[in-house]
């Protein structure tokens, strides 16, 4: 450690103010604070003595994501092996998957770091740690076979349009990782629309995802068919929970996502209110649609002129298919773009759940609705907070009169 400290002290002298290399200070500062806690002292109040600065908070999120990465890599290898009908073993599958995951990860981090550093140098502020989490989240939302240049464009878009033009971390309206995902979704719809499975396999190896099967009623008239394993993938509930299904890299294994959620809640980083309320919202809306489907005569609630099998999907199935859990645990709870008041968090999360089911079930154009729901609610989070605060002020005024 002393050796490292020395390196940073020596190089630190090069980037002091007034030196020719002073423009590179943000780069030095970012590297320095990864290894050591900062030397900076606050000169004015309030003083908080705590080692949990933003960088360490963000690192906890990254730690929670690591299991999803490893499982994602294994899953790519597993699906490939089962399609090719070979047996590679646990380690072999994981290594096979890593050869797809790591290039995406590197592309994301290089593109993200270039954007972030450029803005840090031009605007003369320190590199913000938020980009670590954004860049760690982006590969997990990508299909394994995504072209790397698309990843680079998507990441740059997410960092610049989603974050930097609003002023950087802390002032952004939209979650940068989701902005980049949404951009990719609309920019390159042939690869990333979510109705065809993503798996590394032999040519012509494709099929419908669990979300697209009920949305395609000509083949599958009710959701029960979906779970009758009449597709080439095993979409049984148990299998979807364990995550051995095709999907984006990080979202398939629901158990690891739940573990990540408990870890984040235990460390006090993510808001449990948002997670719980979004699940409540999803269950409520799914039940409502089930009820509607039950009581309406066949043909009243239709999507695209044919019976809408999405209405028959039970709440539990809604939680398991698609990336709802991943979105609500890691994306919706992002501290900057979610609501800041506790009451607001309940409303914000609940509406995310409601919108997810509505977009999935009522709108036949988009198979997945989680990322759109979270982006929409990102937009409304400040408004929710405003009215919660106003209501509180009114209540306290009324109490005092």
């Amino acid at each position: 450690m002393n050796f490292l400290r020395k390196i940073f002290e020596e190089t630190g002298k090069l980037v002091e103010e007034g030196k020719p290399l002073s423009w590179a200070y943000p780069v030095w500062e970012a590297a320095d604070t990864i290894f050591f806690s900062t030397n900076k002292q606050t000169t004015k109040g309030p003083h908080i003595r705590d080692n949990m600065d933003i960088k360490r908070t963000m690192f906890f999120v990254v730690i929670a994501l690591i299991p999803c990465y490893i499982f994602g890599a294994y899953n790519i290898g597993y699906l490939n092996a089962s399609a090719m009908e070979i047996d590679r073993g646990l380690i072999g599958n994981t290594i096979f998957g890593l050869t797809y995951v790591i290039p995406i990860l590197i592309a994301t981090f290089v593109a993200g770091a270039i954007c972030e550093l450029t803005f840090a140098i031009i605007r003369k502020h320190e590199v913000n740690e938020g980009f670590l989490v954004s860049c760690a989240l982006i590969p997990l939302t990508m299909p394994p076979d995504v072209p790397l240049w698309q990843v680079i464009i998507g990441t740059s878009f997410g960092i610049i349009i989603g974050k930097e033009i609003f002023g950087g971390v802390g002032t952004n309206i939209f979650n940068p990782a989701l902005t980049s995902r949404a951009f990719m979704y609309f920019a390159f719809p042939t690869k990333i629309s979510g109705d065809k499975v993503w798996a590394i396999g032999p040519d012509g190896y494709s099929g419908a995802t669990a979300l697209a099967i009920p949305a395609n009623p000509s083949q599958y008239d009710t959701a029960s068919n979906l779970f009758a394993a009449n597709t080439q993938f095993d979409f049984s509930m148990m299998n979807m929970f364990w995550g051995l299904i095709p999907g984006s890299i990080g979202e398939t294994n629901k158990l690891l996502i739940l573990l990540g959620a408990f870890f984040l809640i235990y460390c006090g980083i993510a808001s449990w209110r948002i997670m719980v309320s979004s699940v409540l919202g999803l269950v409520f809306t799914a039940l409502l649609l089930n009820l509607l489907n039950y009581f309406t005569i066949d043909g009243i609630l239709q999507a695209g002129g044919s019976p809408n099998a999405m209405l028959t999907i039970s709440p539990l199935q809604h939680i398991l298919i698609g990336s709802f859990l991943f979105g609500t645990v890691f994306m919706a709870t992002e501290p900057v773009t979610s609501s800041h008041t506790n009451t607001g968090r309940w409303i914000y999360g609940f509406l995310i759940g409601v919108l997810t089911v509505i977009i999935r079930s009522i709108n036949p154009a988009y198979p997945e609705g989680v990322f759109l729901a979270i982006l929409i609610m990102n937009m409304f989070a400040p408004l929710i907070d405003y009215y919660v605060v106003q209501a509180n002020i009114k209540m306290r005024l009324a109490r005092n009169v």
Binding site: P147, W149, Q150, I153, I161, I165, F183, F186, A187, F188, P189, T190, K191
Partner: protein
């Protein structure tokens, strides 16, 4: 009066740069989003707007002393509408394909805020030669932005660069098939309206950066 003294130059260059109708005043956004899918459409639209704005400014400036203040909007509208009808008919006569592609947006030049705005703010207060220069500057400022936006939208959204000709447009350059074979894909988002907003926003950002405009937060 001297046509190219410093004041005239300012009248014509300000709207192109530091007082651009689209990127600084944020006027005429509707048509800027609608006709920027292809470069040739944007060029024809620019020509149409140059014609309408210059003529309407000159005509209204010539009759400005005879217009009663109370009915000036009606008179401005009738002058602009007649000019727009002329453009529309000309396009239908000589560039039928283009007029079909531009469809209602030529007619909607009437409601383009830039034209009414310049008539109200400038032409009614200045002589015809200055009004002409102002019209030229503003329409060129408008055209510059929509041509830049449409260039990027067409190149990255559809993979072509199209110039106007008598028919459906002359394709100057097209992304070669070998690129697509190598894995290149068009960015479909740019063909949709949100893509226009994003490109326009970036253009406004860069243009304000160069013009040195700071807005109060």
């Amino acid at each position: 009066m001297e046509l190219f003294n410093s004041e005239s130059k300012k009248i014509i260059s300000d709207p192109i740069n530091v007082n651009n109708p689209i990127s600084l005043q944020v006027l005429g956004i509707c048509s800027a989003l609608a006709v920027t899918i292809r470069l040739d459409q944007a060029i024809i639209m620019t020509l149409a707007v140059v014609f309408v704005l210059c003529s309407s400014n000159v005509i209204l400036s010539l009759i400005r002393n005879y217009i009663p203040t109370r009915v000036r909007i009606v008179i401005m509208l009738s002058v602009i509408a007649s000019l727009v009808s002329v453009v529309d008919e000309l396009l239908k006569a000589y560039l039928y394909d283009m007029s079909k592609q531009l469809s209602v947006f030529v007619g909607l030049i009437i409601t383009n805020c830039i034209i009414m705005g310049r008539a109200e703010a400038f032409a009614l207060k200045h002589g015809p030669s200055k009004a002409f220069l102002d019209g030229l500057g503003n329409s060129m400022g408008y055209g510059l932005i929509i041509i830049v936006v449409s260039f990027f939208r067409e190149l990255f959204g559809a993979g072509t660069i199209t110039l106007p000709d008598g028919g459906a447009g002359y394709v100057l350059w097209r992304i070669p098939d070998s690129w697509y074979a190598a894995g290149y894909e068009n960015i479909g988002l740019l063909v949709l309206s949100p893509g226009a907003f994003i490109i326009l926003g970036l253009v406004i950002w860069i243009q304000r950066e160069f013009a040195g405009v700071e807005e109060d937060a």
